[in-house]
Symmetry: C2
Subunit: 208 residues, 2 copies
Amino acid sequence: MSQEFASHLLEDAVSQLSRLPGIGRKTALRLALHILRADGSVGERLGQSIIDMRKGVRYCRCCHNISETEICPICADPRRDARTICVVETVKDVMSFENTGQYAGRYHVLGGVIAPMEGIGPDQLEITSLVERVAAGDIDEVILALSATMDGETTNYYLYRRLAPYPEVKITQLARGVSVGNEIEYTDEITLGRSLLNRTLFADSIKR
Amino acid sequence: MSQEFASHLLEDAVSQLSRLPGIGRKTALRLALHILRADGSVGERLGQSIIDMRKGVRYCRCCHNISETEICPICADPRRDARTICVVETVKDVMSFENTGQYAGRYHVLGGVIAPMEGIGPDQLEITSLVERVAAGDIDEVILALSATMDGETTNYYLYRRLAPYPEVKITQLARGVSVGNEIEYTDEITLGRSLLNRTLFADSIKR
């Protein structure tokens, strides 16, 4: 799309917007024209909120979750169980687990999983800092909450090996099983096999 | 999605982004996290370009196209034919016609079409200013280049009536016919009928 923009300011905003993932030049132009048509404060607020976010948000020194302070609110909360670490891939996963309302421990955000095909090795991830947290002691359990994919399982195993020198720490992983709401007919056989092996007492599901 | 954001700056950016058309909260969160992960200058440049655009871009006093100056570059260009006005719905349509490279006249951006179902009447559009341009004289032709939809045709007819007091001005509309690249089999019958009525000399298509 070679477009003669009547304004280089529009051209500039469109090219910045089109650098966002999943936003092509056509969508970027649509968004920019929407901002131009909208009430004057809309563009100002949007632009400023992005700048403020980029300037103000940093990563927790302990768990690498996003934070506005050196230590994030979760790590700083004395009511949360400091002896349990849930290892997740991304900041978004922290939000997902928080939304379950089922977890009261702390987190450790790896920043992804080991993916040799994409050139992501252990050194690109926050693995050393995890081992240091465990080595510092006072940890009872590390929950490996990575994706149930090939790369996720590889990373799980890698972490398991790296944490082997600390046998007093229990290493667990998320249950594998049939997704709630899914039909058996459409559940793959490996998942079915795992869900059978790790079956739980029916009475437990009633109590919850 | 009730999310416990670790940062109100992130929360704020997400809610501003999700006000854009076609961007829900999930997409907004994905964009915001991308900006956070990206190189520091990305967010700054994106935010600033939006603010600058909103502040710097205004509408041409004559044709209502976007412009950084009181009169847009097209209206100000002495090489363009000031006696022909192409009436379009939006700023985007101006870009589309400019991209054809086939038009050397000026434009008039209505801002939409008359759409009673959406509560858009003639007063919400730049119709009076068009009539004033024509009334001021020195106009040979007004090309109605609105969508070939019911609302577009209604607006065409309304404009035709409003411009009736100036019989010296030729009112034309875009040719209706088979879209280039389209098969006859998939072209609707009304279009086929119009394309038959308004058939052109084959020799003309070879010359182009």
